[in-house]
Amino acid sequence: MIRTFVTVMLKEIVDNLRDRRTLLTVLVFGPLFGPVFYTAMMNTVINKRVADLDQPLQLPVAGTQFAPDLIHYLRAHNTVIQAAPPDPRDAVRTGRKNVVLVIGKRYADAVRAGKPAPVELVMDRSRDAAAKDVDRARDLLQEYSRAIANLRLLARGVDPRVVTPVVIEDADVSTPRSRAALILGMVPYFFLFAAILGAFYLAIDTTAGERERGSLEPLLGTAAPRAMLVAGKISAVAVFSVVSLALDVLAMYWCQGLIPAAKLNIAAGFTPWSSILSFLVMIPFCAFIAALLCVVASFTKSYKEAQTWLSFIMIVPLVPVLATVFNPTEPRLWMMLVPSLSQDLLITALIKGEALSGAFVSVSVLSTLAGGAILMWLAVRLYGREKILG
């Protein structure tokens, strides 16, 4: 019995190690897709969002002659005043300029009369890349406005604090690590993805592929017990899934060093220990997904058909994960009953540096393994039917 199981498992592993596409998926594409995509994306986002305050603001201004004081103030506050383009609106619309400040004669008149003086800030809100410059320009103008207001109040003998009844002080209670969780929120998704992709081709090859090659009937004609055949196949699939996952966790740990986390003032999310724990809580999911993909692929008649179905099925475990992205909730015990969701929540907790609840981990591990066992039982039943030969 055990020998049959080991024989089948080893055969499937050796057989599929010789398949270049499977190897590429398990060793390269599955594990590296997440980290590479993630690193590239994070670098882009961070560089866009975090204003580099050392760099002077490049601000095209039209009508500098109407507001010499303002221009002086801007220059004194790390701004390089550029000549405005002839058509500011067009320049901003086409993206040649991020923002243009337009000062008209009305401004000079209003300042002289002591009335609110209008300046025009030409911007395009739909352009994320311009947001940084727009915000800086607006902040500078408001600071200037406040400074002038304070001077006017003082000139009239009024304490400027009178007009500042409320002061908002930001008290951010997020720790650097919990801020990291926000950034690293996609990581559990990538772990799940790597585990699924690692299982993908093997699940097809050992089931639908076996049938399509015509090797299934001879195989079922051997004295090997069906349960051992099925268990051996699913285990081989799970092994590939675990390998893909392990590489993904390693790659992710390494890649987080490439993200300029310091710019966001966050500490990195993964310690070596939390990486290992994440890997361990994911292992039951590898067994579960191996059984799920094998069962589904067993229903199909050909490699092609199996690919179509599995491409659809591989999205299913990601649905609860996406649900938490759009609707973040506190983990509850019942959520640990849901494979993929439970792993997602546990890894998220690990990234935040929170201690894992023993009850949560046990329920997650046991329920996921139980799900896998039920699916394996289903597969054994399936291979006991005559119809399996198609």
């Binding site: 024989t7 055969k11 050796v14 057989d15 090797s215 009937e217 001879p218 195989l219 004609g221 051997t222």
Partner: protein, 244 residues
């Protein structure tokens, strides 16, 4: 010895096999002859335990196929109609896998594989991946795979399909060799000449029923035709009347 008693099998409304009975004795080659779709493969699949008969019994060396399928599988060497190999494994690895699944101890298995490679003249391609094999090479590997556990009963479903003349002759020699070792060989074909050249007993099957049986000579006498092919056509064409 394979004994079939009154088996029937239907798929939905299609009655694939109806009341088929025959015995394939040891030391003889029994040919199951019939046109495509006659029920040959279904009959052989019931014997090889991958299908279950709706009615009737099949005994292999006295063991019931339905109640002791695992024991029967060890007594049977089967070359099914669809007999694919694992393309990324070598011929030797393909055979070894099946030997291990049938529970052969390692040392004995390796000896047995070497014997089979010699007997089937596979030395040249034994350690190449099966991917680029010719149909003849593929059949040899599939046959070796079926014989690796030294079964007394050998079931071959249209083994010569797609083989060239030389490969067919080689396969016939192997089948005779197995017969001369005292084994029971049961094989199916839709080619008259094939069966005539090889078989000691012929069973002609059409529309799921046996329509004629006997040695090649007896069949000629039974149908009153000198040419075996004519005898076959007559037997198949007149199936409703010639139920034996």
């Amino acid at each position: 010895m394979i004994e079939i008693r009154d088996i029937s099998k239907h798929f939905g409304s299609v009655r694939a096999v109806q009341h088929v009975s025959f015995t394939a004795p040891n030391g003889k080659i029994t040919g199951l002859l019939g046109p495509n779709g006659a029920g040959k493969s279904t009959t052989l699949r019931i014997i090889s335990t991958v299908l279950r008969a709706d009615a009737g019994t099949v005994m292999v060396d006295g063991t019931d196929v339905a109640s002791a399928a695992d024991a029967v599988r060890l007594k049977l060497g089967v070359l099914p109609h669809a007999s694919g190999l694992y393309p990324r494994l070598t011929a030797r690895e393909n055979i070894r896998y099946f030997g291990a699944l049938n529970g052969l101890p390692r040392a004995q298995l390796e000896r047995r594989i070497d014997d089979l490679i010699g007997m089937l003249q596979m030395q040249e391609f034994a350690d190449r991946p099966a991917k680029g094999f010719s149909q003849g090479q593929r059949i040899k590997v599939a046959l070796a795979r079926a014989l690796v556990h030294e079964p007394n009963n050998i079931v071959l479903d249209e083994p010569t399909n797609g083989l060239d003349v030389m490969a067919t002759r080689a396969l016939r020699d192997i089948i005779r060799k197995l017969r001369d070792q005292g084994r029971c060989v049961l094989f199916s074909s839709h080619v008259m000449q094939e069966v005539a050249a090889l078989c000691d007993d012929i069973i002609i099957i059409a529309h799921g029923r046996i329509v004629a049986r006997g040695s090649p000579d007896a069949l000629r006498a039974q149908t009153g035709e000198q040419d075996l092919e004519e005898a076959f056509v007559k037997a198949v064409g007149e199936s409703p009347e010639v139920v034996s």
